[in-house]
């Protein structure tokens, strides 16, 4: 079980968190400008990277805050934890 460093609460067990999938998926400003394929790309397509992945987590049974986290999906090494709206680490 992961030990996740909530940027608001500190380290907590994974069971307090809910997973939110890939981070930094931008909701199109003008959905009507997109054709079906482009819209489906926003809606359904995710990278599913093996390796470093930027993803969203929600401290669902804690402060209920959403945040971003970098996780290596192969080794489960954690990188930066940062707030929604902040830029991912280089």
């Amino acid at each position: 079980m992961f030990l996740i460093n909530c940027p608001w609460c500190g380290e907590r067990d994974e069971e307090e968190f809910a997973y939110g999938g890939e981070a930094h998926i931008v909701r199109p400003k003008d959905p009507d400008a997109l054709n079906d394929e482009e819209w489906a790309d926003y809606l359904f397509m995710r990278k599913n990277t093996k390796g470093n992945y930027l993803e969203r987590w929600n401290h669902a049974h804690g402060c209920r805050r959403w945040f971003n986290m970098q996780r290596n999906t192969a080794t489960h090494e954690f990188g930066a934890v940062y707030k929604i709206g902040e830029k991912p680490p280089k």
Binding site: M1, F2, L3, D13, A18, G20, R27, P31, D32, L34, D36, W39, A40, L43, R56, N58, A60, R64, R65, W66, T75, H76, I84, G85
Partner: protein, 1004 residues
């Protein structure tokens, strides 16, 4: 004791004054406190303990530890029975009762042994090859196989014991209480670190329990006791015995299973097992090593054991494994067993050493005692079926691949075999580390650490006691330092240096009566003695194209079963490597997965069972419903009244009565479980406008509106009524089961997509008790209860709300309806709910007020064609599919809007909500029934939809149903069919609104 014929006159860590009686396979025996079931059986001369998995060959005790492949037993009977335990791991207690799991009808006479004669019919992969056809026969095959394979019996009664869990943090967790682990725990503990030391045995000491060694100038067990005393005195050190670290998970999270019982048959005043969930800053693995057997012909006969186990039984348990022993080895360590047996007065007929000219102090000591050492020889046959009677030994050719001379017979009843030792790298591997093959010890050792763990002592491939102590001490200090502590200056414990010459690998020992390359060679050279996998099986798998060790494992069952190949895996990989012409390092290991040893489901579940498995949520009126005889339905975690049967009523009788009361008098429903979310902030209206499909900005204060919520994929997610309490204040309701999900959904959009909106959401579900009174007389009753709310239809119209008092209680009253009748949904503070409910029931009696439950609610709303999210919808229904275009705004954006125009959402042939009326009005369609347009005599038929809701409607005097049907709205008036096993029901597709289509009843 006279019955214990193999008990030595002295020695062993047993309490000879405490005799324990036990039964095994129905026979009575005695042993001593300190025995395991295995040592007690050995002391009683019980040789054959089990039948093997596949060939049902007789099998005896093989080891003295967790690696035991043969002595697998079912402990006790009834509710507390435990299957598949290793006799070597069961501490003996008075009254113990156990039986072999794998010997029907008996160990001595086994019907399954006929398999042994038919061994050629049971090669590798025989399950896959034999039981493939016809498919329907698998059920029969499976029964026979399960019985014959005898994998123990799960208890059939509820477990009467309790189990609990502890969550613990440690600076340093040390796994293993042998010399390395103790040295590590001492070094870490002395630094002031919080240390947990866990050992699977009842007593610390590890291998020292079975040896006669010296540490710091004193007997090793004296040193162990001193170390234990020092550790016990430290405030921040916790010692857990009978505790197995079975799993190593992410971020140094380990699962430990503590067995708090010895006598599993006796009730305990506390939990019987405890699951420790430990998060450690640093982990020291000191899990030791397991001896590796040599692979020779008939090496599975009862009496063939691991050489190290022989001296465990002598030294630790005071038991003689037999009368005359032959040791078969490729290393120096097994000579210790010869010496220990000789010290105890047990005849050692010979040491047979694969190596030429072995040399060193241990070898010299054996030679000095006139024990014959046959070097460059091997055991090439084992004679005896139910027990070893003799062995044949032969000199080996220079390449060790064949025998080079005539066989020589040595009578004996025990063979101790040693092919070296395998470090227990299981936890290191589970932590993500990749074990590396070490040529010197011919086994796998830990690779670079991935998590914050280090291995010490034998599990790191360091076997001498002196080096183990140093390794434990150094690693313990290093771990403490990494955890932020300053190690003390204590010296490391020391032991004497004993030189040991390297071992010599020979993975397949030749046989005296078969050519090494002859057909059939290796069929009785057992590699995995538990799963009955022989050299021939692995070679066959390799020939048939199974080259990956993971595939060979699944094809042959190598390394499966309760022992998980703790003795068989490495020889198996070596044999596979030879067959493929690859070095073992390239063959690699199979994946080590938790658990290291079996873990009971009870321990994993802990206290989270029965009423604790999931919280039950009850409304303020719950006890009233119980007293009224309600039956309850689970909706999410809520207990909701389902219906209220009166004495003598059937369910349908009760539903008919409840429905008619709501239509003709007054019905009352406890609606407290509806999700309620309080939404406030200057942007609240804008936010709700984006969430729901319809328009919200202009909703007046005091008004309510029904809203439909979609996912971004345009599929209906939730619905409910939301009221505007003030310019910046809304009260949203959600379906009972979806409340938490909807709140999470709102938060997700606010936090991640629209952080610029100033909106705050709060769950207020439990703040309010909600009851709905509905029916033509509801207004009369309401009028008796309020003076400050104008109930006039114009002043308080449908779809609006008022604040005031009801029965003197501050209340929010909503004029909304899920039945089509005049309805008041009254919300009062939760703790006033029961008072108001009771008052309404008393005053309503004269109007015939009738409480109704969820079932009647479902019927009443289905009569009106109202959907229930999760019943009419399943995550694939759009508002258009439901015929709810009227609620979808064309003028604004909302979540899911763009997806409504995706090609898939506008295509022909989508399933649409319709009503169904059965041709026979008395027939009620089963919910979930599949619908077809073209009825055929037998499947397959094209299914065009399914029934989502179906009831008998007392109001209409006939059955009604809702369904989703492909192009349903274009099929109005068509007759379709619901074919079932025994009959077919015909029905007509109709409008989903069955009752009061014009909505004339809403004002009473």
């Amino acid at each position: 004791m006279s019955t214990s014929r193999n008990r030595l006159a002295e020695g062993g860590r047993i309490e000879r004054t405490k005799t324990l009686a036990f039964t095994f396979n129905g026979r009575r025996y005695t042993g001593f406190e300190g025995d395991t079931l295995a040592s007690a059986l050995l002391a009683n001369g019980v040789k054959a303990l089990a039948r093997s998995f596949k060939y049902h060959r007789p099998r005896g005790l093989y080891s003295a530890g967790v690696e035991e492949p043969n002595a697998v037993v079912q402990l006790e009977n009834g509710a507390r029975t435990r299957p598949n335990l290793q006799a070597t791991e069961i501490e003996l207690y008075d009254g113990l009762s156990a039986k072999s799991v794998n010997c029907w009808p008996s160990v001595e006479f086994d019907i399954g042994a006929i398999n042994s004669l038919a061994a050629r019919l049971l090669p590798a992969g025989f399950y896959y090859k034999t039981f493939m056809w016809p498919k329907s026969f698998w059920m029969t095959y499976e029964k026979v196989i399960r019985n014959a394979a005898g994998l123990g019996t799960a208890p059939k009664l509820p477990d009467p014991d309790t189990y609990d869990k502890m969550h613990e943090h440690a600076d340093v967790l040390v796994v293993g209480g042998g010399p390395s682990g103790l040295a590590a725990a001492l070094a870490a503990g002395r630094s002031g670190a919080r240390v947990i030391l866990a050992d699977q045995e009842g007593e610390l000491g590890g291998r020292m329990l079975s040896e006669n060694e010296t540490i710091d100038g004193k007997p090793a067990m004296q040193w162990v006791e001193d170390a234990t005393r020092e550790l016990t005195a430290m405030d921040d050190v916790r010692i857990l015995t009978r505790t197995t670290a079975f799993g190593y998970y992410d971020q140094n999270y380990l699962g430990l299973l503590e067995r708090r019982h010895i006598n599993v048959a006796r009730p305990l005043p506390h939990s019987s097992e405890r699951l420790w969930r430990v998060r450690a800053r640093q982990v020291v693995l000191a899990t030791g090593a397991i001896e590796r057997p040599l692979v020779f012909a008939n090496n599975d006969r009862p009496g063939v054991m691991l050489a190290g186990a022989l001296r465990s039984y002598v030294t630790r348990y005071g038991v003689s494994p037999g009368k005359k022993t032959v040791i078969f080895t490729n290393n120096d360590d097994a000579y210790r067993s010869a010496l220990a047996l000789d010290d105890a007065g047990i005849s050692v007929a010979a040491v047979v050493d694969l190596r030429n000219d072995p040399d060193g102090p241990l070898v010299d000591a054996v030679r000095a005692r006139d024990i014959s050492v046959f070097d460059g020889w091997a055991i090439t046959a084992v004679i005896g079926k139910m027990a070893v009677k003799a062995v044949e030994i032969s000199e080996l050719s220079a390449d060790s691949e064949n025998v080079s001379g005539p066989a020589k017979r040595i009578d004996c009843d025990v063979v101790g075999s040693s092919g070296g030792w395998n470090p227990v790298v299981h936890l290191h591997s589970q932590s993500g580390g990749k074990a590396r093959f070490d040529e010197t010890i011919q086994s796998f050792v830990p690779g670079p650490s991935v998590q914050k763990e280090q291995s010490a002592g034998a599990c790191a491939g360091t076997f001498s006691l002196k080096d183990c102590l140093k390794s434990g001490h150094d690693v313990g200090k290093a771990a403490a330092k990494l955890a932020g502590f300053t190690p003390s200056r204590h010296k490391q414990p020391v032991a004497d240096t004993v030189f040991e010459a390297p071992l010599q690998a020979l993975w397949i020992v030749p046989s005296s009566n078969l050519d090494n390359r002859a057909k059939g060679f290796g069929a009785k050279h057992f590699v995995d003695i538990h799963s009955d996998v022989s050299v021939a099986d692995i070679e066959l798998a390799a020939r048939e194209g199974y080259h990956s060790v993971e595939h060979v494992k699944r094809y042959t069952a190598l390394g499966m079963g309760p022992d998980q190949g703790k003795t068989g895996n490495i020889p198996g990989m070596a044999v596979l490597g030879q067959a493929l012409g690859q070095p073992i390092a390239e063959v690699g290991t199979t994946t080590f997965r938790p658990p290291f040893t079996p873990v009971t489901y009870g321990a994993l579940a802990g206290r989270d069972i029965g009423e604790f498995s999931d919280p039950a949520r009850k409304t303020a009126m719950h006890h009233w419903h119980e007293a009224a005889g309600a039956l309850f339905e689970d909706v999410g975690q809520w207990k909701r009244p389902w219906y209220y049967p009166k004495p003598g009523e059937t369910m349908q009788d009760a539903l008919n009565r409840e429905c008619l009361a709501a239509r003709n008098a007054i019905g009352i429903l406890d609606a407290s479980t509806l999700g309620k979310i309080d939404i406030q902030g200057p942007d609240a209206a804008e936010f709700i406008n984006r969430i729901y499909t319809n328009a919200w900005i202009k909703l007046g204060v005091g008004k309510c509106r029904y809203g439909l919520m979609l996912g971004e994929d345009a599929m209906v997610m939730d619905d409910g009524v939301t009221a505007r309490l003030g310019d910046n204040h809304f009260h949203m309701t959600t379906t009972t089961g979806n409340a938490a999900r909807v709140l999470g959904w709102l938060e997700e959009w606010l936090q991640t997509e629209w952080p610029e909106l100033q909106v705050y959401c709060n769950s207020v579900t439990e703040y309010w008790s909600t009851m709905t009174i509905c029916g033509p007389r509801a207004g009369d009753l309401m009028a008796e209860f309020t003076t400050d709310i104008d109930l006039d239809k114009e002043a308080f119209p449908f779809m609006s709300f008022r604040e005031g008092t009801v029965g003197g209680i501050p209340a929010r009253v909503f004029r909304i309806s899920f039945t089509g009748e005049l309805s008041y949904e009254i919300n009062v503070p939760a703790n006033m709910g029961l008072a108001l409910w009771t008052a309404l029931m008393n005053a309503g009696e004269k109007y015939g007020i009738t409480p109704y439950g969820t079932e009647t609610m479902h019927i009443l709303r289905a009569e009106k064609g109202y959907i229930i999210v999760g019943q009419e919808t399943d995550g694939t229904m759009t508002p258009l599919d439901l015929g709810m275009d009227w609620i979808v705004s064309k003028k604004k954006d909302f979540i899911g809007r763009r997806s409504l125009s995706r090609a898939d959402c506008v295509r022909e042939g989508r399933k649409q909500l319709v009503g169904l009326l059965t041709t026979n009005p008395a027939e009620v369609l089963p919910e979930g029934a599949q619908l077809v347009a073209d009825l055929k005599p037998a499947p397959p038929m094209d299914m065009i939809g399914h029934v989502t809701s179906s009831y008998y409607s007392a109001t209409l005097g006939r059955s009604i149903a809702l369904a989703v049907v492909k192009d349903g709205r274009n099929r109005m008036g068509e007759t379709i069919h619901a074919p079932m096993e025994d009959k077919t029901m015909d029905c007509e597709i109709v409008d989903p609104v069955f009752f009061d289509k014009e909505g004339s009843r809403i004002d009473g």
